[in-house]
């Protein structure tokens, strides 16, 4: 046995061996994946509050991408995988109730707990941020998170099914509600967060 192989093992869903050798289309897959996956995982993590669920959903979105041979400009492909992931989260993870349940069972730290006191503060901030996100309507939450990933208003409109001209207003209100909810929660002031 290798002494260095003591990492945590997780159940891993295998992929059809054929797919390992499949040409996914006009876009070079590896650079596309390297570029999009971290953002997609972050989006799913923020949406679900559960790292395992986020990984599962992000992976499934890319499997579908390859399985269906989706082609097109990179920007459109990015929208496609995010849209698929959003639907998967909605279908599988029932965001609000799941997040609360998972949060109670597995509080998520944003970083390794080097200092217990600092770690506790961080946990409080994380809990309050999640709680504030929970208070938003699903559409507002998605818009908020998509904006953070750099989507255009037109793309966001397509993904959540509203007019592009409404996105600015919906976003501004969602941001305000989110920050208000965070503060009303009696949340600690996050060290790197400015006031409005």
């Amino acid at each position: 046995m290798c002494e260095g192989g003591a990492g945590r093992l997780t159940e891993t869903r295998p992929i059809s061996a054929d797919l390992f050798h499949r040409d996914p289309g006009t876009v070079e897959f590896e650079p596309f994946f390297e570029d999009v996956f971290p953002a997609l995982f972050r989006y799913c993590l923020r949406l679900t509050g559960d790292a395992d669920a986020a990984e599962d959903v992000a992976q499934e979105a890319f499997v579908r991408f390859l399985d269906r041979g989706i082609e097109g400009p990179t920007r459109a492909l990015r929208v496609w995988v995010f849209k698929v992931a959003t639907h998967l989260v909605r279908d599988r993870y029932r965001v609000g109730e799941n997040r609360r349940r998972l949060l109670a069972a597995h509080p998520v730290n944003a970083a390794a707990p080097d200092d217990p006191e600092r770690s506790m503060e961080r946990d409080e901030v994380v809990t309050s941020v999640r709680s504030a996100l929970d208070k938003l309507e699903e559409r507002d939450r998605q818009l908020l998170l998509m904006r953070e990933e750099g989507f255009s208003y037109r793309e966001m409109a397509e993904m959540v099914g509203v007019k592009a001209t409404s996105v600015g207003t919906l976003l501004a209100r969602a941001q305000e509600r989110f920050v208000d909810a965070y503060r009303l929660d009696g949340a600690p002031v996050a060290p790197d967060v400015g006031g409005t």
Binding site: F37, L144, Y153, D192
Partner: protein, 260 residues
């Protein structure tokens, strides 16, 4: 102009307005009548920045390497350069290969002690009805019909692969590959677990007659392959030890029959 609402101001900050719309907002800002228009814009900017900062607290490092290892990779020209039409053309080869396998299998079945003979005996006894597989060509066991696979990167140059539940007489090919990803391909139904530098696969016990393929990056410093509790291969730098059953060895591949 009429006062832009907060949505329009955010769109302005986000660069989502047309040039004309943006000029209109800028004109409105210049005509400040003392009601703090610039402050209103600044409040929206700070609110957006606060959202960004708060959400960042939820982030964790993305498991990019692990997921990439489990995903299909783009077909490399060095490997096969397949396109859809290639696959169609190759289907004829697959049929021919199946015929070759049929004849080869018949020949092998005639040999006492042959695993093929054992397999056919089991199949006739009703123990197994799904073991016969067709490969596209003899150099590509990874393309065995219904095979599935998992890939991982080595962890600091170390790699551990553990296979269990492998029926005796199963062909196992270990290939040293370029790149950083190790892989295990096994019949559908195999249960996989993976972690940093590790793949653990519990092979479906009904998959007798199928084959297994393991890919180990040539650059791995220390790698081990264990099958049913028995060490088959240890790679230490450039040295390869085969403490388990003897295998047919070429420069890039070692072929075993498990349990023998």
């Amino acid at each position: 102009m009429t006062n832009p609402d907060e949505g329009r101001l955010l769109a302005y900050l986000d660069g989502e307005l047309t040039a004309g719309e943006a000029e209109s907002v800028e004109a409105w800002l210049r005509e400040d009548d003392g009601t703090g228009r610039a402050l209103a814009l600044e409040a929206i900017r700070r609110c957006a920045a606060t959202v960004t900062d708060l959400l960042a607290h939820l982030d964790l490092p993305p498991p990019t390497a692990r997921v990439r290892g489990a995903l299909p990779r783009r077909a490399g020209a060095s490997r096969d350069g397949r396109s859809g039409s290639h696959w169609l053309r190759r289907s004829g080869w697959a049929q021919a290969a199946a015929l070759v396998l049929l004849f080869a299998g018949a020949g092998a079945a005639a040999m006492p002690g042959s695993p093929v003979r054992a397999f056919i005996a089991r199949a006739l006894a009703g123990e197994d009805s799904r073991g016969l597989v067709a490969t596209e060509d003899s150099t590509s066991p990874a393309a065995v019909v219904e095979d599935v696979g998992v890939r991982v990167e080595s962890a600091a140059g170390r790699l551990e692969i553990v296979l269990s539940g492998v029926p005796d007489g199963t062909p196992l090919a270990v290939t040293l590959v370029e790149g950083e990803l190790a892989a295990v391909y096994a019949p559908a139904g195999t249960r996989f677990q993976s972690g940093d530098g590790r793949i653990v696969a519990a092979v479906d016990a009904t998959a007798s007659g199928a084959s297994l393929r393991v890919e180990i990056p040539r650059g791995t410093t220390l790698a081990s392959l264990e099958v049913n509790g028995r060490m088959y291969l240890v790679k230490d730098g450039d040295r390869l030890d085969l403490p388990g059953p003897s295998g047919d060895r070429t420069e890039t591949e070692i072929r075993f029959l498990t349990g023998l």
